[in-house]
Symmetry: C2
Subunit: 213 residues, 2 copies
């Protein structure tokens, strides 16, 4: 199947949204936790977190100012703090349900039965049921004029993860952490490792690394 | 295991890179194809493609100006065109090998045995062996001062995908397209669908959608 620009433009809007949201490939499935100045909590599923750099440890994410991401953006801009929590197989249905349009005064934690976890000196809630989770401090915020989305860049100030998923070289075993991926708007997937491959060098064959190293 | 900011700062640099590159979760595994003005081709594995919007169809990616992504960035800024190609199970070893530091005059296509696919009127090569692939026109380029990376925003002008992976609602079945995910710096994974979930509404239970719809 081939779609050129005119064909993409002519697609029915929900079909196009399902298609274009799929074509970037596997996406990380995360819950973003925030709180407003009064302490009211908010939780939103997002699939746009991307690695920006490891020193300092920076992650970026794309936030849409409309819909249920509106409160997330307002809260993190006001407080300068948010949490990123990996969605796992035990909570992906509750995580998906956070996308429903609840009234502003109803917390998605209460509505979906997920639990807040608070860290000393940090104003945003983490998700107690998540295994991999991070407290983030806002470092930069850039509205993207091209389509009205916002790029949010934050630094990891606390990182929590299960011992069993941390390999000796520092890499995280995502299936061992039970983390899941998102595809498109509504599909949750688990992962199975094919291989870890050695650092590539010209003219040298790749070695397969032990995946449980 | 818990790492605070000081603990992250104190980590050995390769350990920290392995850890921080893992914590965003599952990443899309893509090959970026470009050519310079003389027609010399370049191919680089990248895991930072992120959905920006579906109308117009925009994808962003984070490019590091050092190392093997240097030529990719120079080529796409000069030509305004690049391709995004899903890595699949048949080519992930060759894809990983493109990260080796080949001399500027050696194409990663030739070095790894992957084949160029050319579209009429489009100057950047696509990967013939990829099943899901896109011709992209550069729309915006933003250097990110916070750590010297670059945000590249492009519009999908041609989209190619296998009929068998396209569902009736427009969503893409990534395992059916054989697309793979990346974790950290070196691990390739395939995905298995857990469920597709219905659009979330307050007070309504989620329905499971047929995954082969």
């Amino acid at each position: 199947m081939q779609f050129d620009r005119n064909a993409l433009e002519a697609l029915e809007s929900r079909y196009r949204a399902a298609l274009i949201n799929s074509v970037s490939g596997y996406k990380p499935a995360n819950l973003i936790g925030t709180a407003n100045a009064a302490g009211a909590t908010n939780l939103a599923v997002m699939s746009s977190v991307v690695h920006l750099g490891s020193h300092p440890p920076l992650l970026a994410m794309v936030v849409r100012p409309g819909g249920d991401e509106r409160h997330t953006l307002a809260n993190l801009l006001a407080s300068g703090e948010y949490s990123i929590n990996h969605i796992n197989q035990s909570i992906y249905r509750q995580a998906h349900q956070t996308a429903a349009r609840y009234p502003a005064d109803q917390s998605e934690f209460d509505a979906t039965g997920l639990s807040c976890q608070w860290l000393d000196g940090f104003s945003a809630p983490l998700v107690a049921e998540a295994e991999v989770k991070m407290a983030m401090q806002l470092r930069q915020h850039m509205p993207l004029e091209i389509n009205g989305t916002h790029l949010v860049i934050g630094e990891i100030v606390t990182l929590l993860l299960p011992d069993a998923a941390l390999r000796s070289d520092g890499s995280l075993n995502l299936p061992a952490a039970d983390s899941v991926a998102l595809s498109g708007l509504d599909e949750y997937l688990c992962g199975e490792s094919l291989a870890r491959l050695s650092y590539a060098k010209p003219g040298q064959p790749l070695q397969e690394l032990a995946s449980d190293e």
